[in-house]
């Protein structure tokens, strides 16, 4: 890598900095530090959260300078972009030479320049060829023979494609980053909550409704538990896709088992519950009793208008305590409502306001299914990068380059002199092991 620049031009300084390893190391450390910030400072919160947590000055700074979405802010994207440029320049600079080196087999000239590792004098009347052939076949599987005017050469090499390894790994990284960008610009992502039996023509993308281009109906939504109130076993949505009112396809969408229709993929991302009908409760206050039915989000008078209550929401399993309903209560149509939970299986639990005690008779629940809907043409680029990683890592780290040559020379008396030459620039340990084996095996030939 050490280059002597003959004419120092400003362009070569620029290129030198862009391809420098110091820049790489610096950017990697910067990215690690910025990524840490993103796990310490809560992400994607409304501005008030930051002021409350960090105070006026620091909170304002964090929010105003983009630390609330740090992975999408210049703090992160700028180093990522520079790193991509750095990687790209290194690939441009080194890949052609790596390809040339990989395509170039070991030449006799290069082989003869390798350092000598062992020397044997073969006994007269013994032909070394057969021995050398068998030893090399066992060690290298494939090798070449070359005849020079005064010498015979056996050439073997391992890991000739090793120089390509690092470039494949870095190209893989570029593919992944490109895939991320493609997804950002040409992808589409939204959510779609569906009730059982409901048909939708549109889904929500960033708070706006967007047509699907077809219709989708949720025929059935099932939430199964291993045991009541325990770990969920399966979320399953049976979907029908309709085009121009005609049924086009049916599919079952589960977690880990998404469904694709017309380029949009539906993921079973979550579910929610809402009341299937009005909630029946008994209310006690002192020694008075009343039974009421509460429809969703409607104020209902209690005890002749003394207080009013409203059903805010229901939950199928509130923190593991079973079905629960959240109520809001207001005294005499005035003041701020008080909000509290009532639990069906544990009516004694939880604070309830002003001496009133609510006991739900049953909480009829209906689950609805929530889908993540998206199209991401970048995914295949990302996956291509993932796949390219594998040969890249294999070549870079597990195929150390070794070059070997066995040189045969006949002296005046017709005896063979055998020399073993070899080198491995990076991997001394494997090389030493190979060398030991080769020397031992070749030596056996000289003693017979």
């Amino acid at each position: 890598m050490a280059q002597k620049s003959v004419k120092p031009a400003p362009k070569s300084w620029f290129w030198g900095s862009l391809t420098s390893l110091r820049l790489t190391v610096f950017l990697l450390l910067v990215l690690a530090a910025v990524a840490v910030i993103g796990t310490v400072v809560p992400q994607d919160q409304p501005p008030g959260q930051y002021y409350m947590r960090y105070g006026e000055v620091l909170g304002g700074l964090l929010y105003g300078w983009g630390f609330s979405r740090v992975y999408y802010s210049p703090w992160f994207l700028l180093p990522v972009g520079l790193l991509a440029l750095n990687i790209f320049s290194c690939v441009v600079q080194g890949l052609p030479q790596a390809i040339r080196r990989s395509l170039q087999p070991l030449t006799p000239d290069a082989a003869l320049a390798l350092p000598e590792r062992g020397k044997f004098n073969w006994p007269a009347a013994v032909d070394p060829h057969e021995r050398i052939n068998s030893v090399l076949r066992r060690e290298f599987v494939s090798f070449r023979q070359e005849a020079l005017p005064s010498q015979e050469l056996y050439l073997a090499e391992r890991g000739r494609f090793r120089p390509l390894g690092p470039y494949l790994v870095h190209l893989a990284l570029l593919l992944i980053l490109a895939g991320g960008l493609i997804g950002k610009f040409w992808g589409l992502e939204g959510t779609l909550p569906l009730d059982q039996g409901e048909t939708a023509q549109a889904f929500q993308v960033g708070g706006q409704s967007r047509p699907l281009g077809f219709e989708v109906r949720l025929n059935q939504f099932q939430v199964q538990f291993y045991e009541k109130g325990g770990i969920p076993k399966e979320f399953r949505s049976d979907l029908t896709f309709l085009q121009n009112g005609q049924e086009a396809a049916r599919a079952t969408c589960r977690v880990n088992d998404p469904v694709t229709f017309q380029g949009l993929t539906f993921y079973q991302s979550s579910y929610g519950s809402k009341p299937a009908g009005p909630l029946r409760l008994t209310v006690r206050h002192g020694d008075r009793n009343q039974t009421v039915e509460l429809p969703m989000r409607q104020m209902v008078d209690l005890f002749g208008g003394e207080v009013q209550v409203m059903l805010v929401r229901v939950d199928g399993n509130l923190q593991g305590f079973g079905p629960a309903a959240q109520l809001a209560m207001r005294a005499g149509g005035l003041g701020h409502p008080q909000i509290f939970w009532v639990l069906k299986d544990h009516p004694e639990m939880g604070e309830q306001p002003q001496g009133y005690r609510f006991t739900p008779e049953s909480i009829p629940l209906q689950f609805y299914s929530v889908f993540q809907v998206k199209r991401d043409p970048g995914v295949w680029w990302v996956y291509a990068g993932f796949i390219l990683f594998l040969p890249g890592f294999y070549l870079a780290f597990f195929r150390p380059a070794q070059r070997w040559a066995v040189v045969l020379e006949k002296d005046q008396k017709g005896r063979f002199k055998v020399r073993l030459l070899g080198a491995s620039p990076r991997n001394r340990e494997d090389f030493a092991a190979s060398l030991e084996r080769l020397l031992e095996e070749l030596k056996k030939g000289t003693s017979s």
Binding site: L21, R22, T24, V25, L28, L29, L31, A32, A35, V36, G38, T39, Q43, Y71, G180, E189, Y226, I231, P232, K233, E234, F235, R254, V255, N256, D257, P258, T265, Y267, Q268, S269, Q372, K374, V379, V382, Y383, F386, F389, F393, F397, E429
Partner: protein
């Protein structure tokens, strides 16, 4: 039952650590050999315990839903590898340390390094046994029902184990660098071992992240969503990537590389423990 067996394995690892230390202090090759054989024995029992737990969760799954046909059965076996909660991950992490040491770094696993590996494995098992970790076998929640579970967790934890080895070696390096001792391996050899363990860990961590990304894409529709576990694994990856590149820079060899290996392992520990306890996210079923 399996819980008690693992407790015994923990004591065995402790004994192995002590033996390795004694072997080093008295420079006794025979003790080294005894310690190594005992470590093999511990790994054998540990493996049996893992398989026993695997059978247990498989049987629970069969009781819940009998499989239909061979492939359904095979899928059930793959899904119920004992890698689905915090307890099981601790036990597997503890397993991967001696396993990786004995299989991939056999030549180096002796003396102080052997003691480091056995001690770390012992500590992890002690945490699993006495840390108040829920050890019950539970059925799988829907998000975990994926063929990627096995390969994702196995690559991630083997990667962690390789980084633990690099960390242990780096500590030895720093000690040796400050106060050279004849009983410790020479610095260049330690440096090479740090590098080799890091390369293996880096490959495995990369595979762990990639398989996790493919899994997340099919489960939630995002191959990357800046979940704290994901982010911290990326931070860990960046630190080790820094280390692999910095080795090639002038002035960064030796001590700085060893410090980076220590820093990297701190990031590994935070990715594993810190994220589970301090930050919440998609991996929260681990706790």
């Amino acid at each position: 039952m399996i819980h008690q067996i693992l407790g015994a394995v923990m004591l065995l690892y402790l004994g192995v650590a002590v033996l390795f230390l004694m072997a080093e202090l008295w420079s006794s090759p025979r003790l080294q050999e005894v310690a190594r054989r005992l470590l093999w024995a511990g790994l054998g029992v540990h493996t049996a315990a893992l398989l026993g737990r695997w059978t247990g969760s498989y049987q629970l799954a069969v009781a819940n839903l009998p499989p239909a046909g061979f492939f359904d059965n095979l899928r059930l076996v793959i899904l119920h590898a004992p890698l689905s909660n915090f307890y099981e991950s601790l036990v597997f992490f503890a397993w991967s340390l001696p396993a990786l040491g004995l299989f991939a770094f056999r030549r180096y696993l002796q003396g102080y390094l052997g003691a480091v590996v056995a001690t770390l494995a012992c500590l992890l098992l002690a945490y699993a046994s006495f840390g108040g970790v829920d050890s019950r076998i539970k059925p799988l929640m829907p998000a975990l029902k994926s063929n990627w579970l096995l390969i994702h967790v196995v690559t991630a934890f083997l990667g962690y184990a390789a980084f633990a080895l690099a960390f242990g070696t780096a500590v030895l390096y720093l000690v040796q660098d400050r106060r050279p001792r004849a009983s410790l391996p020479p610095l260049p050899q330690l440096d090479r071992l740090i590098y080799r363990a890091t390369v293996l860990g880096f490959l495995l961590l990369t595979l762990g992240i990639l398989t996790g990304a493919v899994w997340a894409e099919s489960a939630w529709g995002h191959y990357w969503s800046w979940d704290p576990k994901e982010t911290w694994s990326l931070i860990t990856w960046l630190i080790y990537a820094t280390m692999l590149h910095a080795r090639l820079l002038k002035g960064w060899q030796g001590r700085r590389i060893a410090w980076l290996a220590v820093l990297g392992f701190m990031a590994v520990l935070f990715t594993y423990f810190g994220v589970s306890f301090l930050l919440s996210g998609l991996h929260s079923y681990l706790t």
